[in-house]
């Protein structure tokens, strides 16, 4: 299983703040996961492809070619707006 988190407006576009996805070996990288999540939702595909969106795996910022493992937590992060 992969745990997927959408923060900020990405949650609105995804229709949820978190979801689980069965892990399979074909989801080799975060980029592959992003494409799979966008496949059924064109607005989400566009939003996740925006250059300012960042991704964290197990709470560490990573590049889009980061590989995934069973049990990983993947968070999609729009530009932060705290403070």
């Amino acid at each position: 299983m992969l745990r997927i988190l959408f923060f900020g407006r990405l949650g609105d576009i995804a229709g949820c703040e978190s979801r689980d996805l069965p892990y399979d070996g074909a989801i080799a990288t975060v980029a592959v996961l992003r494409d799979r999540l966008g496949a059924g939702n064109e607005a989400l595909a566009r939003a996740l492809a925006e250059p300012q969106v960042m991704v964290a795996v197990n709470q560490q910022l990573v590049d889009w070619d980061c590989s995934l493992q069973q049990g990983d937590e993947i968070a999609f992060l729009p530009p932060v707006t705290g403070g």
Binding site: G8, Q59, V80, T81, G82
Partner: protein, 157 residues
């Protein structure tokens, strides 16, 4: 020393000031407080005023990022103590939302570290604001001015 808190509750200025002042050899305390304003920087003329603000964050990751930012500030400046408190959840205009406090021997270090912490907190820490105005909810965009403010510290990394 450092105190890092993410909380729904309000914070107490006097208590935080007392704590920062108690570190040894302190000649300067800088306290920054951010408040929920009743307007937005880029708000169109005539737009309804903001009446609610809600803060989301990424539990676990936020704490870790704030600790990193504080560690970086302590490495750059000779400071005695640091406090970062950020509220989450539902807030109203006028509410206190964030506190950054620094105590140091001299004012230059205290001011620089406090500004650095705020700039990095605004551009790195995993918080997201949603505002409501006249019943309509909207996620806030990152301000270009904040990105520019944070980038001024990159030169000497």
């Amino acid at each position: 020393m450092a105190r890092i808190q993410i909380q729904t509750a309000d914070f107490d200025i006097q208590a935080e000031h007392d704590r920062l002042r108690a570190a040894g050899g302190v000649g300067a305390v800088v306290l920054f407080t951010g408040l929920v304003r009743d307007f937005n920087r880029d708000q169109a003329a005539g737009a309804p005023p903001v009446d609610t603000l809600s803060l989301q964050h990424y539990p676990g990751m936020t704490e870790r990022l704030l600790a990193e930012i504080v560690t970086e500030a302590k490495a750059r400046w000779g400071i005695r103590d640091v406090t970062v408190i950020h509220r989450v959840g539902d807030l109203a205009p006028g509410d206190q939302i964030v506190l950054v406090g620094v105590s140091a021997a001299h004012r230059q270090e205290a001011f620089a570290a406090a500004e650095f912490l705020m700039d990095y907190l605004k551009t790195r820490a995993t918080f997201w604001k949603r505002v409501g105005a006249a019943g309509r909810q909207q996620w806030v965009d990152m301000h270009d001015v904040d990105r520019a403010a944070a980038s001024r510290w990159d030169g000497d990394e």
